[in-house]
């Protein structure tokens, strides 16, 4: 199946890109690595008149360690991040999360910005035009029916990015640019929770930078992913955790963020209520795990059964917490 026709423009600067976005409005789509967009074009899920290729924006291809933490340009490829000694040594769990995304040929093209801006996925939507014709348009395509949730009135397509949950757990921020203004906000506020429009980017805006603060001493973090096979797979569930060790081996802070079990990454806010000088033991792990399962919102729109995915959120939460806690021990002794 060939791609539909479009005009392809490759701007040289962020300013030029913003002007193009403003000029073409709804008719334009941004192409970063292309590993997601090309499939949407092929499936005719997107039919832009103009595709704006961002590869020429060399100004967005940087990775630097500052006093406050890491700043990463949105056009850095996942492969570059994977090979970066700065991330391998400074943020090992981030390195391991990146390695779990898709497969090497995809990571060689895909960018960090593109990964964060992934469209939400649903087995009744992410299909070829031919496949979709057999059932008629779903909610997201302007039809009146949701095929995933009986009598569903809003699109529940799943946010399936692997990195956003971990970056949210690490309190990352994103910088967004348009022809008129620049804004920086917590990545947690970047997501809308709407299946058909997962992030807050306006038509004329561009995600330009991701900022990851330094982790304090005593902090450990981890990401665990559920998938059908080891490569080339979106998460069926993902759990990112960040934990801080306090005095006498107690837990001082905790943050649990779930991915791929809802329309946006979900922070398990009740988890921190459980702390007050709690020791890290099996009992508290069980409670965190239960809170995570309760916060998850899986529906039957992935190839794995939704109740299984919910149960696995509990399992992954324990695994991630154990790994993160072990990291705090290592860091304390070093």
């Amino acid at each position: 199946m060939n791609l539909p026709q479009f005009e392809f423009i490759q701007p040289r600067s962020v300013e030029e890109t913003c002007d193009l976005l403003k000029k073409h409005g709804e008719e334009a789509t941004l192409l970063a690595g292309g590993t997601a967009l090309i499939v949407y074009l092929r499936y005719r899920l997107k039919k832009p008149k103009v595709v704006i290729g961002l590869k020429g924006l060399t100004g967005l291809n940087y990775l630097s360690q500052q006093k406050e933490g890491l700043t990463i340009g949105s056009m850095v490829t996942l492969e570059t991040l994977e090979r970066s000694p700065m991330i391998f040594h400074g943020y090992p769990p981030l390195n391991s999360a990146i390695q779990q995304i898709a497969v090497p040929p995809v990571r060689n093209q895909a960018t960090l910005g593109g990964n964060i801006c992934l469209e939400n996925r649903c087995i009744f939507y992410n299909q070829s035009e031919f496949w979709r014709k057999t059932q008629g348009p779903c909610l997201r395509l302007g039809g009146g029916v949701c095929y995933a949730v009986e009598k569903g009135k809003r699109c529940q397509a799943v946010y399936s990015g692997d990195l956003a949950p971990l970056l949210i757990a690490l309190n990352a921020k994103v910088k967004i640019l348009s022809a008129q203004r620049e804004r920086t906000l917590p990545l947690a506020d970047f997501f809308t929770g709407r299946g058909e429009k997962p992030n807050i980017l306006n038509q004329d805006e561009l995600l330009t930078e991701i900022q990851i603060p330094l982790t304090e001493p005593g902090v450990g973090y981890a990401y665990e992913k559920l998938r059908v096979r080891e490569g080339m797979e979106f998460p069926m569930a993902g759990v990112a955790v960040r934990i801080k060790r306090g005095e006498n081996g107690t837990i001082e802070q905790i943050k649990i963020v779930l991915g791929a079990v809802g329309t946006a990454p979900i922070e398990v806010t009740k988890a921190s209520d459980l702390l007050v000088g709690q020791k890290f033991d099996d009992k508290i792990l069980e409670e965190f795990s239960n809170q995570a399962m309760e916060a998850a919102r899986p529906v039957g729109n992935q190839i794995m059964n939704s109740e299984y995915r919910r149960k696995m959120v509990g399992v992954l939460t324990k695994r991630a917490l154990r790994r993160a806690w072990a990291m705090t021990e290592k860091r304390e002794s070093s």
Binding site: N2, T35, I38, Y43, P105, V106, N108
Partner: protein, 156 residues
């Protein structure tokens, strides 16, 4: 009109903006060694090297290769002088139906160029983007390992 280096030779070719690199290779340049499998970046049959790194050519817009280096299966060897990986694949029975073979070879070649002494795990990771429905992968991994061992002997 785009210009790029294809298998070591600079070429200039006219291509519509909505064509993928895969379509350009197969339909305009008549290089049919690169296969189209799924067309959505999942199977790896269309793997080629872009500046030495494996990419799914079905996911790369042709205009994006302007000024860059593209290598396809046609560039790595021919009937008279096969690439060591190609010889090894024949020897180990790593080719059955053959549809995935060009893609696997490109992934393997790129790996060995960047890392001449990979471990078995590194080999598996490098070809993880290439689906093979015939061999069960063992013969492919063994064929690549044999080339690695040969390279090791040569350097000692």
């Amino acid at each position: 009109m785009i210009r790029f280096i294809l298998n070591g030779r600079e070429i200039e070719v006219e291509v519509p903006p909505h064509w993928t690199l895969l379509r350009l290779l197969r339909e305009r340049l008549e290089l049919k060694g690169t296969k189209e499998g799924c067309g959505i970046g999942e199977c790896g049959a269309c793997t080629v090297l872009l500046d030495g790194m494996p990419v799914n050519s079905c996911l790369v817009l042709a205009p994006k290769v302007e000024g860059r280096r593209v290598e396809t299966i046609e560039g790595i060897g021919n009937k008279e002088s096969l690439h060591p990986l190609q010889k090894s694949f024949i020897e180990f029975g790593a080719v059955q139906c053959g549809f995935c073979t060009p893609g696997v070879l490109m992934s393997a070649k790129s790996l060995l160029e960047r890392n001449p002494h990979p471990t078995r795990e590194e080999i598996k990771e490098a070809i993880s983007g290439n689906l093979c429905r015939c061999t069960g992968y063992q013969q492919i991994i063994e064929a690549i390992e044999a080339v690695v061992n040969h390279l090791k002997r040569e350097t000692i």
